[in-house]
Symmetry: C2
Subunit: 338 residues, 2 copies
């Protein structure tokens, strides 16, 4: 059990051929006689040979690996996204190395550095800060094909694939309006992330565009706890608005929990919407009306963008915005849709 692993040399020796022949036989790329090929394969199998991807990688100048850096792997949204990414990459024969930045810029820089040193062929990154992530992400993009996912760094000339946040917020607001709301409040992430900025800007624009009353919105982090805290704040502030548009499903879940604990009814007393379309939306009670991200399309698009960048490193960068959809559920619908 302590034997160092079998190498081409040993297989070659055992099979009575040269190391080159073994390599050829096993990879099947080059011409080898049927007989030897079979023989070699058998010997290799019998010896329990396994290619050493490190050796191959060194020779090839790279392993077939893609890296991805996310803020929090335990967030269901990123879990889902990574799940899809892995799927698409697998098809291209790539393995995925995952790194968690803990939403910390220093750690993010560190993890990106690690991926570069690993000579991954491409990197996906969800930047943890719309501004402070600039240096690390820019530097990485200079060294390896890189695609920003979900969030992006302001003014960074690099590919990006994400959802159309403006459209998503608009869908949510217009929906609650169609359900009779007038006073609508946004409870969402702060300006640290591009997503937070975009959703806020879109919300304010929509409120103005629909001539709705200006409410005082609440901003914080994309956490369950923030949702609860924000809801408590709104309760203290006075009469509840007609609807609360939350920045994501997690926040929405927190909002609903706090509201109900305070004896308020959703959607009767106040409507609530989420954003992302994670499984959290289905676990909430009432189930959450939410803006659904097209996870699979995002992953596919991002993979394609990365491949494009690998093929043509100097092509002009592209910003992809995918359209979200609205999934209507009980949190905005008094009468359960049958």
């Amino acid at each position: 059990m302590k034997k160092a692993s079998v190498t081409l040399h040993e297989v070659a020796a055992a099979a009575g051929v040269s190391i080159a022949t073994v390599s050829r036989a096993l990879n099947g790329k080059d011409r080898v006689s049927e007989r030897t090929a079979e023989h070699v394969a058998q010997v290799a199998e019998q010896l329990g040979y396994r290619v050493n991807l490190i050796g191959r990688g060194l020779r090839a100048g790279t392993g077939a690996t893609i890296g991805v850096v996310v803020p929090v792997i335990s967030n269901p949204f990123y879990g889902e996204l990574i799940h899809r990414l892995e799927d698409h990459l697998q098809r291209g024969g790539f393995d995925l190395v995952i790194a968690d930045s803990h939403g910390d810029v220093d750690r993010e820089r560190d993890r990106l550095r690690m991926l570069v040193e690993r000579r991954v062929e491409g990197v996906f990154v969800v930047p943890s800060d719309a501004e402070l992530s600039f240096d690390a992400v820019a530097d990485t993009a200079r060294r390896v094909p890189l695609v920003q996912l979900d969030r992006h760094v302001i003014d960074l000339p690099a590919d990006f694939v994400g959802v159309d946040n403006g459209r998503g917020i608009e869908l949510a607001v217009d929906h609650v309006l169609s359900r009779g709301a007038r006073r609508v409040v946004l409870v969402s992430g702060n300006d640290v992330t591009s997503v937070g900025r975009e959703r806020r800007a879109a919300f304010e624009a929509t409120v103005r565009g629909r001539s709705l009353p200006q409410e005082e919105n609440v901003f914080g982090e994309y956490l369950l706890e923030f949702g609860e805290e924000a809801a408590r704040m709104l309760l203290e502030r006075g009469p509840l608005p007609d609807a609360i548009v939350a920045g994501d499903d997690l926040v929405a879940a927190g909002v609903i929990a706090a509201l109900k604990r305070a004896g308020k009814r959703v959607p009767v007393d106040v409507q609530v919407t989420g954003f992302d379309g994670t499984m959290l939306a289905d676990v909430c009670e009432p189930r959450l009306t939410t803006v659904v991200q097209p996870f699979d399309d995002l992953a596919r698009e991002a993979t394609e963008a990365l491949v494009r960048r690998m093929d043509e490193p100097d092509a002009p960068y592209v910003l992809s915005r995918l359209a979200p959809t609205l999934r209507v559920a009980e949190s905005t619908t008094p009468a359960p849709p049958r």
Copy 2:
């Protein structure tokens, strides 16, 4: 932007020293004059040099990498677990490669093979099938230090770290009994996984031990949908039991959702408990009383077991069972605890 990356040679040339000196200067392991060290560092920085971990890995016989194979990365339970693992490994200077088996034995075999070929220094695996995963996991364990996590393969002589499922189920059952339940039904995962088997066995043993009436339990997969389905089945079957012990939080969430849609009240009409202690438990309404897994301890223990195995490959294998705790919330408590 298309420049192949800078190598030690180039740095050496530019700095007017030998390649070995550069290596030493940069790694600081060996004695180099203050002056040259500084000079080299500066040149390297200026050229944008980054070690090539593939080269180093080949030389060292391994990269500082650990692999982990889980059934579904999008499941919050595994997200949380991976999060903690990454944390502990980081401290040891290890990077983590994640692979998703999709709960499929073939894919699992494939992913394990990839990790071996990558010459990772260790592997964590959550086997997708208590029996069918045997060959792939056993073969992998023969080649590299391996620790089974959460689930294990039956009769496989390999390290394992997981929660004490028996104790967890007992905690849940005794708790609902203390809340006045008599008729208790288990809705949990089937016998495909060791976890499913253990929770079922523990439940049946507890029911017998407490002289409770034997109910017909429901088994399926650890999915939200299964929880809903099971609840519908129970509703059709006749009068609801006093309590439903769910196999995990996801199933519990599904159960609660379906019950409430059918007009039943939790915990008044029926109590419900979960298992795992994921964020789902806090999002449910009412919040879920659940058996909490000690995520951080599990990750730490698993990491230690792996390191132990790396140091002493032939040591007798060890099965670690960590004690869960019960977190009581509204799903079993009529009067909200203040």
